[in-house]
Symmetry: C2
Subunit: 133 residues, 2 copies
């Protein structure tokens, strides 16, 4: 089996949704913190495997999104997992810059349910204005 | 503001998809291990908040799914988080029985990408035949 055949086989095991996408969870490989959830299409998953960095599919922009391409906040992929029914991917990553969120926070999950409200409980590490210069 | 108003407000902050669903990630509150990803509709999220246990929406069965209702593998919710754009929920849970997956494993993410294949690297703790008696 060639490398290309092997890639095709493992991509075929993913249960792509009707839009040809699969959700991908990024978790910090060292701290276990969940950083974000984004989407991948077949091409972006193949690129993530080949380049060992997270490449998502931006649904809003309708194009490939090499995480960190403008911010430098690249996610280097240490391990990839697939769940039992093949419809969710998990990436264990090293988050360069320690910032995954476009708001300048470590994680996108910075709102916690508290007293009937979603309360922000993570500081902004870097002003988003200066992230995307 | 009454409790019902408060609940409505926090549910309105969720960016429900076109099917009225949001993905929910369950993470073990102690170990940090990601256990599973499932979906919630508005009612299941409200019930999860009220009952402090994970209640999902089963897309395949088209009905509410009180996690653990037949297996006993209830997820007691310790904390709930919402991401920056409101389209993913994170639950920090205590997984009763230590088994989240219907295959009898701790986590649904038991396949790891290794040498061009998704290889199973988590043991079955309990025979699934005996989980759902």
């Amino acid at each position: 089996m060639t490398q290309a055949d092997s890639d095709t086989a493992l991509l075929d095991e993913v249960a792509w949704n009707s839009d040809g996408l699969v959700p991908a969870i990024a978790q910090d490989a060292k701290t276990g913190r969940i950083l974000m959830m984004a989407w991948m299409n077949r091409e972006s998953l193949a690129l993530t495997i080949d380049e060992k960095r997270a490449v998502y599919w931006s649904r809003s922009r309708g194009k490939l999104w090499r995480k960190g391409e403008s911010s430098g906040h690249v996610q280097q992929v240490r391990e990839m997992r697939l769940d039992c029914d093949g419809d969710t991917v998990l990436l264990l990553v090293e988050q360069l810059g320690g910032i995954a969120c476009h708001t300048g926070r470590t994680s996108c999950f910075y709102r916690v349910l508290d007293g009937g409200e979603w309360r922000t409980n993570q500081p902004v590490i870097k002003d988003p204005e200066t992230i995307y210069e």
